[in-house]
Symmetry: C2
């Protein structure tokens, strides 16, 4: 019943025929089982390359008769972005299930390195193929990532990276570039120069320290007339951030700009709006969430730099599927882009 001229896609049978070996041998090679001479392995691999065989992912998962099991580990607490990240996971879980991808979510206390390390330690490769974590850069976490990898649980980082470990992939924006972009916008907003304060969540978070580095570099290179104040750490908490902003406003009556490279934006907006200086200070924040939307609309915030949580979750799942088939995820996943939002292009 095949249409003429419409070639069937290659199967393991075709590989076996092309390599001049049996199905069993092809299977052993494909799934990395022992008992095949090196020369034979090469023959099979050559045949695969020659006829362009691609393993059928659906049939493969079907035959294994089990889903790909992913565990997302996401910080809990008042951080709205993390909440929207978790929501995105929930939204994707349903559709993913019909692709045989089973997703679980773990929420752990924000900025609690030991809690993160421990939940990684608890992951059993028999129940979890891949863990996707929002990492913080602390020794206990790094050790736990390497240990999990050694046990056979693939680890990927999300939003905040953990270079120098066994993590197989990072999904998130280029945070140095994000910081540079913030500097570039801030510099254009303040051609006359002035004081710019920087608030971070925690410099143990790689995304925050990268943004800071990019922002500093951007200011130094292009806008030396801006004077940087801080960074101050608000631990991504609403009330703590609000207190810090209040203090900065009181301490610097001539404050011209504010860059919050962490979370806690509810506190940022509240502090600005209750200060009578909202709109007079150029404000750049991160992540499009309820408080930053409110800030954009009221004029308290000028620009929001955003990473699309839905896109990140989608790419994480896609990367995990690729890894599960022994492929290289890096070659096929799309980079996550830095979104720039002002009042007029709110989505």
């Amino acid at each position: 019943m095949n249409e003429i001229g419409l070639r069937r896609r290659a199967t393991v049978h075709d590989v076996a025929r092309a390599a001049g070996v049996s199905l069993a041998t092809v299977d052993r090679v494909l799934n990395g089982r022992p008992g095949v001479r090196a020369a034979t392995v090469e023959k099979v691999e050559a045949a695969i390359a020659e006829i362009g065989f691609q393993r059928d992912l659906g049939a493969s998962l079907l035959a294994r008769s089990r889903d790909l099991r992913l565990t997302f580990v996401i910080p809990d607490g008042s951080n709205e972005f993390m909440a929207s990240l978790a929501d995105a996971v929930t939204r994707r879980a349903g559709p993913a299930l019909s692709d045989r991808v089973h997703i679980e979510t773990l929420r752990i206390r924000a900025l609690d390195a030991d809690a993160l390390a421990q939940s990684l330690d608890n992951l059993d490769p028999r129940h979890c193929d891949c863990a996707i974590i929002v990492a913080s850069e602390e020794p206990s976490v790094q050790a736990a990532v390497d240990a999990a990898s050694k046990r056979g649980v693939v680890v990927m980082t999300l939003v905040s990276d953990l270079p120098g470990t066994q993590r197989r992939h990072f999904i998130g924006i280029d945070n140095v570039a994000a910081g540079r972009t913030a500097a570039s916008l801030m510099g254009r907003f303040l051609p006359q120069g002035g004081k710019v304060a920087v608030i971070a969540g925690s410099l143990h978070l790689r995304d925050h320290s990268d943004r800071l580095a990019g922002f500093k570099a951007g200011l130094a290179a292009e806008f030396p007339s801006l004077e940087l104040i801080g960074p101050v750490e608000g631990h991504d908490e609403r009330s703590e951030t609000q207190a810090i902003i209040g203090g900065l406003l009181a301490q610097h009556p001539d404050l011209a700009g504010l860059y919050n490279l962490g979370a806690g934006n509810g506190g940022l907006v509240s502090a600005l709006e209750s200060s009578s200086r909202s709109g007079a200070i150029r404000v750049i924040a991160h992540e499009l969430t309820e408080p930053t939307r409110r800030g954009l609309k009221s004029g308290a915030i000028d620009i929001v730099l955003d990473q699309n949580p839905d896109g990140e979750i989608r790419e994480a799942i896609a990367a995990a599927r690729m890894l599960a088939l022994g492929g290289n995820s890096a070659t096929t996943t799309d980079p996550i882009e830095i979104g720039i939002f002002l009042r007029d292009n709110l989505r």
Copy 2:
């Protein structure tokens, strides 16, 4: 061999048991085949909802023993964005194949409605499940879309929509919002007012006419001190656009802003750079391509509004898969976002 407490996912067998019918009946319901009483259909659907059955997409495509066949119809010519769209299709074709999605690309002459209509007419539902087209809003195209739908080829629109036809889905940005965003940025760039020229490709393209509408509305609502010149149609061609810009520059020595809502950006940049007024005029263009990157870097262009071609192709494929399973694509696809690029956040 199932882990204790790890429930197996529901299958058609479970549905049959739960509904008290046979496998054959479940199958008839699932695949919309006739010969089932309405009451029985309801019983089955209730059972599906109750036990949370989700069809196994992989097994389904496997059993059908054929790939999902998609045909992308993309304009040819000097339009760099369309080229990058076609590239994105090519990039996705490989990975998609391992999900049993077979992709073909047709390039047709840009702005040639009859060529587009004819390639739609040529699509045979036995060789193509779904066509994804960059539409232009002309009667012959509209008729061809409806005819193809009637023949059994699902049609989706990409980049430029075709409302009022049988097209099942549109994938692209909200172009009215894009125009409004351009207006908002332009207005902020030119607080002292002035002349702003608008260049389009063709107002038969829905995306262009939508952008124009959004831009006009945005200026009228917020920046009445800006005087709009045009639109002039450059037909998305490099040389024609270059000539038009040259003419505008000569005719309006006091030109303050330029919004090219179409393609032909190579001509835009060339005209500006050879005019000695590059950098003195605020310029907003669309689509991140080689010429617009060059323009951003040289300062000839201030802002580029972008739709991510890779993201669009990804969503198109995802939507087609959903439609193929009888689902409603609109509920599961992510909206495409308007990217805003300046020199500093080039990707």
